[in-house]
């Protein structure tokens, strides 16, 4: 079963990481990802740019375009992983490994209903 692991954290705080700290966290995360990839369990992974770069389209009639998500929440969606896990326990294990590599914030573990791998090549 596919699970989405959605990463929430205070983007102000993540933005205040030093370059060295950022690189270190990314390196630790890639160890976890590489293990999953070798097992054939890793789907698409994304790190999102700051919410200040975001635009929202409210599907009103007519649709309304607004700058960024204005939600006054402390933590923002900063990225996600798609992983193949047998059950919730396994997905939680993956999230724990990721969390050990990158402490702080929260992961939302959410079963995927439909996944279209798409056609984008990067």
């Amino acid at each position: 079963m596919l699970y989405a692991i959605l990463c929430y954290h205070d983007e102000d705080m993540v933005g205040s990481w030093s370059k060295e700290h950022d690189a270190e966290v990314m390196k630790k995360l890639s160890v976890v990802q590489d293990k999953l990839a070798r097992q054939g369990r890793l789907g698409p992974v994304a790190r999102l740019l700051p919410t200040t770069a975001a635009t929202t389209l409210r599907k009103d009639d007519p649709p309304l375009v607004i700058d960024g998500p204005f939600a006054e929440t402390k933590e923002q969606l900063l990225g996600f992983y798609i992983v193949d896990c047998k059950n919730l326990d396994e997905a939680l294990d993956v999230a724990r490994d990721l969390g050990a590599a990158n402490p702080g914030g929260a992961y939302e573990i959410r079963p995927v209903g439909v996944l279209n791998p798409g056609s984008v090549t990067t």
């Binding site: 102000d12 933005g15 205040s16 200040t52 770069a53 375009v65 607004i66 402390k74």
Partner: protein
């Protein structure tokens, strides 16, 4: 958790909000800073044991305010400090203060803090130093290093700036809409100054000074988070990101300047470019243009061109035309002329800069650009004179080296021309 990097990051990110709020309480920069330092010391003791507070900024404001008040009491009555336990259970208080101060309040705190640093009485260098010290929290040593001056000189510069600010009496009431937008303009200009201080570095100092660019970007993103719908702040942030994205490609191994056209575009930072392009696209939708947006749009056209000859020079010419209207300056016209030379040829470009000769008679780039146009037109002797003048006016050895490269090419060309003439 043994790793304390998260504490550093939490303190850095909470700093502008916390110092801004403490400044509102104490109405004195030194008192606010000291209260914040006190709060940080307690955070370093408390957080590793108790874990991070739910809201680091509120925690620091709360503790800092108590520490500051204690300080006032102590100096007044020489009373003993309360025990640490008195502030150990902060949960309720934290919640209360977080509720009392909503987002808009914080927004004005941070804006005021930034605005105080760019007070018109302060010369630009003092503004930048003060902002880096107070808002960003860089140490005097770090700032001195980035400015290439001694620590003592920087310490003195910051002390002087603080003294002037204290005399200047910036109002602490919540600003009105007009005042707020005026403050925003000054603060944006100061952030741009900080960036340029880093960006205008020569090759041999670029690495030491690039933290200034990074800090300017951080402040600009902060400002944008506070004013998410201001197209000029989007433009400013986009401009800084797009310029800084090229940092790794701007100098060769000897520290000599590499012109945009000759840069290895694979060295450009793609994540910064993506963010910059997203921001300028967002800004343009507002149809409320301004100088930062126009400059960012020009930068964006360069960033979008995968190869130099794919650059949309016609559009760049038009954008510089718009910038000339908004911010008439001979330097803008000079930049526009470079675009014109690509679209309509070197003669048209030369005609365009001819009227600038008196006003830019001491400007390095004027003679560099003029020499290049003359060279394209085959007027080598005049080109050589222009290049000689440019070298005499060069601000850095890298600038001079770059012009010398042109001169060498001229010499080679004229030699080979002379040879073929003899044949």
């Amino acid at each position: 958790m043994t790793d304390t990097a998260w504490i550093d990051a939490a303190l850095t990110s909470a700093r502008p909000q916390a110092v801004g709020a403490l400044l509102r309480y104490f109405r004195n920069l030194d008192a606010a800073e000291e209260a914040y330092q006190n709060a940080c010391l307690r955070a370093l003791k408390s957080w590793p044991q108790n874990g991070p507070p739910r809201d680091a900024a509120s925690w620091l404001i709360m503790v800092g305010r108590n520490a500051g008040i204690d300080e006032v009491r102590r100096t007044r009555k020489q009373q003993a400090l309360p025990e640490d336990e008195a502030i150990s259970d902060l949960d309720d208080a934290e919640e209360e203060i977080a509720e009392r101060l909503d987002g808009s309040h914080y927004r004005d705190d941070i804006l005021r803090l930034l605005f105080i640093c760019c007070h018109p009485d302060l010369p630009a260098t003092q503004q930048i130093a003060l902002a880096l010290r107070i808002v960003s929290g860089l140490t005097v040593k770090q700032i001195a290093r980035a400015f290439l001056v001694s620590e003592a000189a920087m310490e003195q510069r910051i002390t002087r700036a603080k003294a002037r600010v204290a005399e200047a009496k910036v109002p602490f009431e919540t600003p009105g809409a007009v005042e707020r937008s005026e403050r925003l303009v000054s603060v944006a200009a100061m952030i741009y100054l900080i960036f340029n201080e880093g960006y205008s570095a020569s090759g041999d100092t670029a690495e030491i000074r690039s933290p200034l660019c990074e800090e300017a970007i951080r402040l600009s993103r902060l400002l944008l988070r506070l004013f998410q719908s201001e197209p000029e702040i989007m433009g400013l942030t986009a401009l800084l990101l797009l310029q800084h994205a090229r940092a790794a490609a701007r100098f060769d191994t000897d520290g000599a300047v590499i012109l945009l056209e000759d840069q290895d575009r694979s060295l450009w930072n793609k994540a910064l470019i993506a963010e910059g392009l997203a921001l300028i696209d967002k800004a343009m939708r507002h149809r409320h243009s301004g100088p930062y947006q126009v400059q960012a749009a020009i930068s964006a056209l360069h960033a979008r061109a995968e190869k130099p000859d794919e650059t949309d020079w016609t559009q760049i010419d038009l954008l510089y035309g718009a910038l000339e209207v908004m911010q008439p300056s001979p330097v803008v016209t000079l930049n526009r002329a470079v675009a014109v030379s690509k679209v309509r040829g070197a003669q048209a470009a030369l005609d365009m800069i001819e009227p600038l000769s008196t006003r830019l008679s001491n400007y390095f780039h004027y003679f560099g650009v003029r020499g290049a146009f003359l060279m394209q037109l085959g007027r080598n002797e005049e080109a050589r004179i222009a290049f000689d003048r440019a070298i005499a006016l060069a601000n850095t050895s890298a600038e001079a080296a770059h012009i010398r490269m042109h001169l060498d090419r001229l010499m080679r060309d004229s030699k080979s021309a002379a040879k073929s003439a003899k044949k």
